[in-house]
Subunit: 410 residues, 2 copies
Amino acid sequence: LAQPRTVNAARLHASLADLAQIGATEGGGVTRLALSDEDRQARDLLCDWLRQAGLIPKCDDLGNISAVRAGREQGPPVLLGSHIDTVVRGGRFDGALGVLAALETLRTLDDLGIETRRPVGLVSWTNEEGVRFEPAMTSSGVVAGRFTAAYVHDRRDRNDHRFGDELRRIGYLGDPANRPSAAAYLELHIEQGPVLESLGLAAGAVGGIVGITWNEVTITGQADHAGPTPMPLRRDALTASAEIILGVERLARERDETAVATVGRISAQPNVINTIPGTVTFSVDFRHADPAVLEELVARLRALVDEVARRRSVIANVDRFWTSEPTPFDPGVLGAIRDAGAALGIELSELWSGAGHDAKYLAEICPAGMIFVRSRGGLSHCEAEFSDPADIEVGANLLLNTALALAEVA
Amino acid sequence: LAQPRTVNAARLHASLADLAQIGATEGGGVTRLALSDEDRQARDLLCDWLRQAGLIPKCDDLGNISAVRAGREQGPPVLLGSHIDTVVRGGRFDGALGVLAALETLRTLDDLGIETRRPVGLVSWTNEEGVRFEPAMTSSGVVAGRFTAAYVHDRRDRNDHRFGDELRRIGYLGDPANRPSAAAYLELHIEQGPVLESLGLAAGAVGGIVGITWNEVTITGQADHAGPTPMPLRRDALTASAEIILGVERLARERDETAVATVGRISAQPNVINTIPGTVTFSVDFRHADPAVLEELVARLRALVDEVARRRSVIANVDRFWTSEPTPFDPGVLGAIRDAGAALGIELSELWSGAGHDAKYLAEICPAGMIFVRSRGGLSHCEAEFSDPADIEVGANLLLNTALALAEVA
């Protein structure tokens, strides 16, 4: 292994702080929705920084911004990146860390006068969050062939503003010829969960993105007066739902330690204090790295719902309406991250991502991988999101050295 | 015992059918909200019928309509009544039965040339349902001294229309001197529950109105991504709530066969499919005839909530915000109903009302009682509400003979 290199952490922290000013919230977070005025300001700053680093920012027809530092050879770059849009009152590091650590990698290569075999590039993907324009990860999705540009341009926000029109309005509707290519893709991101913290580790190599399947459960009982209906004669849709919600939790807990199940959304009808709920609908979100386990969890959910419905004389329906298959990352990229950790003397955990990232789509078109840094309290998508500067430095050094290794591979 | 008398059932059914035309819905029900144009039409029809029966309808400052058939002696009448307002898409009999069976009683007394010692009166209370103007039972409440007329006149509906203004608009803002008085009060009503049906009985004598206590439970956990948070590290406000909801059901089932507990209203925050609920609030409605049991149920709820909160590391709060004490009806009136049943050869059950009725407030100022008739499927407050004509006839005959007995008592 080559001698590990290190980034200029002070410069990285300063850039993160500067970017966090754009859309800064009173609570110490950031609101920088995709294609908003704040997004434009952030893009302008990123492009300035790229030019100051001697690079030429390019913008494609989705507003994806990329820049490439030349290598000894032609061809697609080792691409590093993430996103700079945020959720409403989100954190300072979600997305921003991956883009600015990529920038810091390019700056460090220049500082150290390093020439790589392959080019090394940076990308900032448009609308990763999907908060303003659904679905999430639209623009890496187009590059991976999941969506057409026309489909994405026609997405509308709550005020009926078109994605394509907003992209033009902020001056970032570019050329399809500028869509980024990649020999490999690497994304540094905050974990957004509590696993690294619970292990006492600063960073981890991401084994893949778990599969997700979404179900809508509807329970129909009988809405009745809360007073005159004795307990044994009730067909209460909410008590039936409560049994299923606890059963769903048990399904994940009993499966294995990586399975998760969440009932996040619930609504009762008529939702009145003195009426027994007649209808309750709720969502069930299952996540696991193994597609067979996802199938098993859904089958067990159906069996659970049927058993409760029969026993409680209610009618039940399970609608499995969306599935995102598990995406294991490239073993070669994973190995390079592990090697970088070893060279830097950093103990790494391997964990799977429970949330989606642009790397999921990139994995469909090139070897891809992700590095996570520890999130304090596991918090994310909130103003209290925080990662320690020392952990961020660890993550950036892992990114730099992994990128160097990938850029040299034959 | 005197020979039992019987009403003209065909006339009663015809009047019920006529009244049900006013505000009739496509689904076979009635929408006749308090102080609406439909309520005015129904009041006009009731007053016509009273005049045709040789009576003088009087209207008080709450819009309560009453009329009295003279007895041999002066003094307050044995008052029979209920209400003619309905919920949205309610049934044909809820309230209307009690008013029109009272009318049929007065008509029958004339038909049979019966002279009673005490006067016998009819009352139709304004705004029993409390759907348009909260709270319910406003106008019997004023007569019982629970509310002032000024308070009730200032109630506003969703469109900010004042009760008092609407009362004047429909022409039924009368004189406080016309508030009805009562030596005793008797209300025939549909059961609105399944107990009589489950017992195979047409009618029942009501022992009283159960006590009700309302609680709001708030569970605060930690909202987190559904993906990256392993099951053991979650502080899920909804799974904690589901445990409590099932525990609340168990509290009532295990207490005794008359205790009921209902979680009718629930809301989760942020209520998003891929976020672990951080906060859940839900209502708990307990009902029982014994005030000590109500206290016990609330104490057990608090213990249950504390235990679940401690075990699941969530913060919980129970706010007991409203209580309506149990109201047992007058033993003399109950005895008169039982005697009437025996004379008519009708088997009666004694059951408590789980819902509020105007009779609850009347019980505070005079001996009061209620008679229930069987509800098909226990359904009420819906278009499918139904009571068999034969059961209605049984109820009306009970009302007539109980009223006769009460009107003769020294």
